[in-house]
Amino acid sequence: MLGLNLIHAGFLVAGLAAALPVLIHLLFRQRTRTVSIGSLRFLHEVVKEHRRRRRVRQWLLLSLRVLAALLLALLFCRPYLDRSHLIGLEQDVVMLLDRSASMQARDASGETALTRGIAAIREELSRLDDNAIVHLAAWDSAGITEMPVDQLRNTTATAAATDFGLGLGWARDILSTSDRSTRRIVLVTDMQRSGLPRAPLERLSENVELVVHDVGDPMPKNIAIESADALRTELRPDSQVTVRVVVRNHGPLPVKNVKATCAVESMSKERFTVEREFSLAGRGNTVLDFPLPLQSDGLYKGKVSLAVDDALSHDNARWIAFEARHPDRVLLVDGQEGSSIFSNETYFLETALRLRTEEIVGQLQSFEPERIAWEAGKGFPRLDGYRAIVLANVRRLSDSDGERLEEFLRGGGSLLIFAGDQVTAESLSTLHQRGLLPGSVAEEPVEGRRRVDRWDTKHAALACFSDPQQGDLRRLEFHRLLPLEQLEGDSVELLGCGNLIAAAERRVGSGRCVYIGTTVDRDWTELPRTPMYVPLMRQLVAHLSDQLSDRAAVIHRTVSKTGEAVGIARAKDEEGRWVVTNADPRESALARITEDELHKLVGTQQIPTSAEALSMAGVKLPEGSSRTDEIWTVLVWLLFAVLATETFLAGRIHA
């Protein structure tokens, strides 16, 4: 197929002039004279011979005249040869449309970058021949969605970020399997610099062309909420739950008196709204705290929003959800009260549990330890308000104590038992008989320095220590140990030293009981002097008070999957947790990468976009523009040849 196209197709009407020769023939044909002759004897012979030749000549003459008229009309139409179909047979094109959140940015006319991008894709598609292979995909950091051309108009911007590495890598993989000579990537994006990965971009093959369509618009102003987190979500009389918001001005110009609103709602529909006003210097950021007068335990959800009109609207709000609750009460039973507070058996543990960082983001690990001196003889207080009980070097337990502890454990409470000089197998026999201990305790403590050489790395409390950077439990050292001789029931070993079981856990009803064969103070071990002490104790108590797993009610995440929307939704698991999904804050950055820079990064050359290149690709140029593939010279010579032949033939016929 010859791809003949016309610049002035309207002149095709002039092709009707092809009828002129016929019309002229009909209008001006010679009138036949009637002539009498003596005999047609010779005329018959001659005419018979000439008739066929004459008919051929006349048809040929008519054809030449019609052809001349058609050529003349075609000449006015300015025909050109569209060779794009030949190019198309060798083309394999991957078209990548950026659908990241920043593509929602509108220009002065109100048109979004995504709309311009779709138009650019359509223009590129129109230049391609049907024979070209086209892979069309919308892409962001959350993934790539390949789609047919007719789905292009349904493409919408997501809340995900830009990731050039992901998109170009996908395109490179597709083109690497292509057997066509012309392989091209058409990248339609707003050129957001934040889309560059930290690692260098992988270079494209030498035979892969990269055509970049920058549909972005330099944005002078964008105020974005980078993060919004709930701090101090424990309900204490001396402090308020606070939502901390980081706001960044990505533009070079300062902004003044911007109103920020934090609105949360409890599950019982109780609303709390706090407003703040702030000003920001160009390219500056600020931290806004929103104290919330919350009183009751429970899940709170809402969002922080900015009342500002800027280029990107998706980052003017950020969803938040958190669980606010009172801290877990832990009963510390001190079996050997000292002369001073520092010499109490539970001093180090109480101190470790009372530690409270100034600002805690995310999951709660707050405790409210309450110490009682066991030797005072008052026994256990009411146990129904406690999450965990710690027995530290407790000498004896009566049957009623054992009964209350069993009831506490089976009701969902937890028990943490530390050994000591006053603890023997007999002193714990009450608990052992009730099946609360993980195993039978040795009759006598084992003397000598020993290090922990194994632990349950999958245990919820100890898993974090499997990474040596977060603490190496092998540094735990005991110089006296009252080990468990044998594990019982479904007990699991937590810590081990050689053939000794240093710590173990047993589930009792809904609760847990953990036995540790050393003291909680420095009597048998130097553990309280090591940095491992606080995290280990807090992890153990948090585990026993169910703070590590079951009570993580809210999961925070950034958009990372295709089709994921921002907002708060119930998790699909059956735990009843909530998932807070927010846009990637990197999408708020206004810095842009240049086309040259991108070409350098991937090792490609900038494709010329001159009129000549477009012309060779079969692009329709505006009327009046000159084209290199016009064939008017050929037509003129052809017309001359036709006219010359016509003249010669006409002369022969009419001579």
Partner: protein, 302 residues
């Protein structure tokens, strides 16, 4: 076929008819006079052989016939006069078939042939030769035996001037009939367009020769039939059959001329082989010019 009314006594008395006869005779006489004056030699040589008397020389007479002996004796110039050869008859055989009536601009072939016949008759009468006339088409239509009196000449002229039907003729059967009607030896002048098959034509010529006739063929063609001197689209109507042929004249002219020339040459060659004179004339050539040329050529032969 062109049909003319039959001749009757009443028609003979018709002034128009008489006028046409006089017209034909007048033209023939003019032609003859023109011919006679145009020739350097007397036309009598062609038709007379025996000495009759002398007469004084007059300007234009052939010097070969001067009697030098008398000049020497009397010192005056006398020209020998010869007795006409009365036993040589002139038989004019005229084709009046429809092909001779093909009418376009100018003279028709028939009228040209009539004038030629009349002129020859008058020339012969001037030499007191007996002249006969046969009009034929597909068959002999009229026959007038050769006689030498002046009334007979008038009769012949009347016959020539008379309107008559012109049947078509596709074969020289009429010529054979004419040959049978002329048993007495003489000079046969056949005037026709000769649109016959060559073999048939020569068979007829041979038929005349068989009876000892000297045969002279005057082939009369119109310029159209010889050169087709017209351009453009023409509808050619065959005067014999009425068949119509449409063509572009300019396209076929060359081929047509070639074919016609070939045909004429074929006739000419055939006549030469039979010692028969063949003269092809076209109607655009004035009759007297044609006759002068003919007699001049003939004189060279003697």
């Amino acid at each position: 076929m062109t049909v003319a009314a039959p001749i009757s006594i009443r028609e003979l008395a018709d002034p128009k008819w008489m006028s046409s006869v006089e017209d034909l005779d007048f033209i023939a006489r003019c032609v003859v006079e023109g011919v006679v004056n145009g020739l350097h030699r007397s036309p009598y040589v062609g038709f007379s052989v025996d000495f009759a008397s002398h007469r004084e020389y007059s300007s234009g007479d052939d010097l070969r016939h001067l009697n030098w002996k008398l000049y020497g004796r009397h010192d005056r110039l006398y020209i020998k006069q010869y007795e006409a050869e009365t036993n040589v008859d002139l038989h004019i055989v005229l084709d009046v078939s429809s092909s001779m009536t093909a009418s376009n601009d100018g003279l028709t072939k028939l009228r040209y042939a009539l004038l030629l016949s009349a002129s020859l008759a008058r020339l012969a009468a001037r030499q007191r030769d007996a002249v006969g006339l046969i009009l034929f088409a597909d068959t002999v239509l009229e026959h007038y035996s050769a006689r030498g009196n002046s009334d007979h000449l008038l009769q012949l002229l009347s016959a020539l001037a008379r309107k008559r039907p012109h049947p078509s003729a596709d074969s020289p059967r009429g010529l054979h009939e004419a040959a049978e009607l002329m048993p007495r030896r003489g000079l046969v002048v056949l005037i026709s367009d000769l649109y016959y098959e060559s073999a048939e034509l020569f068979a007829a010529v041979d038929h005349f020769s068989h009876f000892g006739h000297d045969v002279l063929l005057f082939q009369v063609l119109s310029p159209l039939e010889r050169h087709l001197p017209i351009d453009g689209a023409v509808k050619l109507v065959d005067a014999e059959t009425g068949t119509v042929l449409e063509t572009l004249a300019h396209e076929i002219r060359a081929s047509f001329e070639t074919a016609v020339e070939k045909w004429i040459n074929e006739i000419h060659t055939g006549c030469q082989a039979r010692n028969v004179e063949h003269v092809c004339i076209t109607t655009d050539v004035p009759l007297e010019v044609a006759l002068v040329n003919y007699f001049a050529k003939r004189a060279l032969l003697f």
